[in-house]
């Protein structure tokens, strides 16, 4: 193996095992690699299938692991219409709303976690989740032949509940917040030999997020962007994209560049952005109240590292209200044809704010990370649209309908901007 677990704070080595905490100092474990042993070239990567496994050497995978699920390699879109609307010029969208198999970036982390669950001989996998992770664990457990136990806050969106149950997973609804669910799962993981992907398998799991960063660099033509805008729940993704960029520089796959990292939260759950804006390096927990339930983590475990990632790169953190989230979902859909969930609304809303505040220059190459699909959170838009009255299937009826619609909305006759 060219990797092992190391304590993030005291540096102690823990080998490879299902464990996320250093018993000596209680600090988190991190996967460390022997980078000197990694030989990887752009040409070699280009020859491989378009999925996250093309970066296998940079992931903590068991020896001779043969993945059988093509996860990742989602589109990087040039968002020219959105850019025009928000005062940007060189804005891209990394679109994990279409990540397979369950339409969120969580498919990436689960793929790595389950590879290690198999390696460690575990027959049951589990997670605490705000929804997307639940879907990803349930689906991949079904395909890989694991039993799955999924713990969620009881108030989750119906589509995310159904999208877990359909895969045959055991669903446990907890009457409480995600933070309470997460605490319970820490206790259960203490007692049972289950592979909790985001508890005892977390160091491996979190490495899967790096593939978002590798793909962005490759899709930009093996260049790093100037800025990343990333949604933050537990705060892990933004940290791992930074790690991915640092690794690519280290391996000589991209030129070194100072990338600034910007984090996005919902105002109703903004422990990380609140800390950044007030100059704190530590998190003070919050009780979430936001429609962006996939980001509703009031006590973000990686918050401290997320803050360091932003402040250490000259970045910043912002947050947006629930109404701004809905408007931003609509804005992204109407300009770029991408239907994202509430977390994506947070990212787009914050991106817009950062341009308005002048924190991001229009000429910078900026990538906004869309991490989930709007079809899972349609309830957020429930009151945004009226259902049109049906008309008869007659051409005359349609002509009347068209004239009436034009009189109410004359702008629909205006030419579309190229």
């Amino acid at each position: 193996m060219n990797y092992e677990l190391r304590c993030r704070e005291c540096g102690k080595s823990w080998g490879n095992q299902p464990r996320s905490i250093c018993d000596d100092c209680f600090s988190p474990l991190e996967v460390s690699y022997d980078y000197a042993a990694i030989k990887l070239t752009r040409d070699e990567i280009a020859r491989r299938p378009p999925n996250m496994w093309r970066y296998a050497e940079l992931l903590p995978l068991p020896a001779n692991y043969h993945p059988n699920l093509p996860v990742g390699f989602t589109p990087l879109l040039s968002a020219t219409h959105l850019a025009q609307k928000i005062g940007a010029r060189r804005l891209c969208i990394k679109n994990d709303a279409v990540c397979l198999p369950t339409l969120s970036f969580k498919d990436r982390v689960v793929a790595v976690a389950l590879a290690q669950a198999r390696n460690f001989g575990l027959d049951t996998v589990a997670c605490s989740s705000t929804g997307n992770l639940a879907n990803a664990v349930a689906a991949q457990a079904a395909r890989e032949g694991f039993k799955a136990w999924i713990f969620i806050p009881a108030d989750l969106e119906p589509a995310k509940v159904l999208g877990t149950q359909v895969f045959g997973a055991q669903l446990v609804r907890i009457a409480g917040s995600y933070d309470q669910v997460n605490r319970l799962c820490s206790q259960i993981a203490d007692e049972r030999s289950w592979g909790f992907v985001n508890v005892n398998l977390r160091p491996y799991y979190a490495e899967g997020s790096k593939t978002v960063g590798y793909e962005i660099a490759e899709q930009l033509g093996w260049r790093l962007p100037d800025n990343i805008v990333c949604p933050m729940a537990g705060g892990s993704l933004i940290v791992k994209i930074k790690k991915a960029f640092d690794e690519l520089v280290r391996l000589g796959l991209v030129e070194e560049k100072k990338v600034r990292f910007f984090g996005a939260q919902a105002t109703g759950c903004s422990p990380i952005s609140t800390a950044v804006k007030s100059g704190n390096t530590e998190i003070y927990p919050q009780k979430p109240s936001t429609i962006a339930r996939s980001l509703a983590i009031g006590n973000p475990a990686d918050g401290h590292y997320a803050i360091k990632t932003m402040t250490g790169t000259g970045g910043w953190s912002e947050d947006v209200s629930d109404s701004e989230i809905v408007e931003s979902i609509q804005l992204l859909a109407e300009t770029e044809g991408v239907f994202t969930e509430t977390a994506g609304g947070v990212t787009v809303g914050v991106t817009r704010k950062l341009y308005e505040q002048g924190r991001i220059s229009p000429d910078d190459v900026t990538v906004a990370c869309i991490t989930g699909n709007g079809l899972k959170t349609t309830d957020a838009l429930a009151s945004a649209y009226e259902t049109p009255e049906p008309i008869a299937a007659k051409i005359g009826e349609f002509e009347n309908y068209l004239q009436k619609t034009i009189s109410l909305h004359p702008e629909i006759q205006e030419p579309v901007e190229a």
Binding site: R8, E30, Y35, E191, Y205, A206, G234, Y284, A301, Y305
Partner: protein, 104 residues
């Protein structure tokens, strides 16, 4: 007054396997002092060099994060159940420590 304290598995090797104790501590500071006396090996795992609660240690009182109750100032009530739970973070890039084998 009596409170109950649950100690997570990760720390039990410093408590000779003890997973639960009862004591009469009035607040978090007194609780930690009690634990220090009972289990001297545990002390450095609960607080850092400056005496602050370790960043990745969460303290819950009857299912509520103690930080919502006033933190170290919170006065324990008779029958309070205290939980010490590690916070599960993923860590961060740190190439100084990342470089296991000493070369790049």
């Amino acid at each position: 007054m009596t409170i109950t304290v649950d100690i997570p598995t990760a720390l039990r090797r410093h408590t000779a396997g003890t997973g639960r104790i009862t004591c009469a501590a009035a607040n978090l500071g007194e609780l930690f002092s009690t634990l220090d006396q009972k289990f001297p090996d545990l002390k450095p795992h609960l607080r850092d060099e400056k005496g602050e609660v370790r960043r990745f240690l969460n303290v819950y009182v009857n299912d509520e994060d103690i930080r919502f109750l006033g933190g170290p100032q919170y006065a324990f009530q008779d029958g309070d159940e205290i939980l010490l739970v590690p916070s599960i973070a993923g860590g961060a890039p740190d190439f100084e420590r990342q470089n296991l084998w000493g070369s790049s």
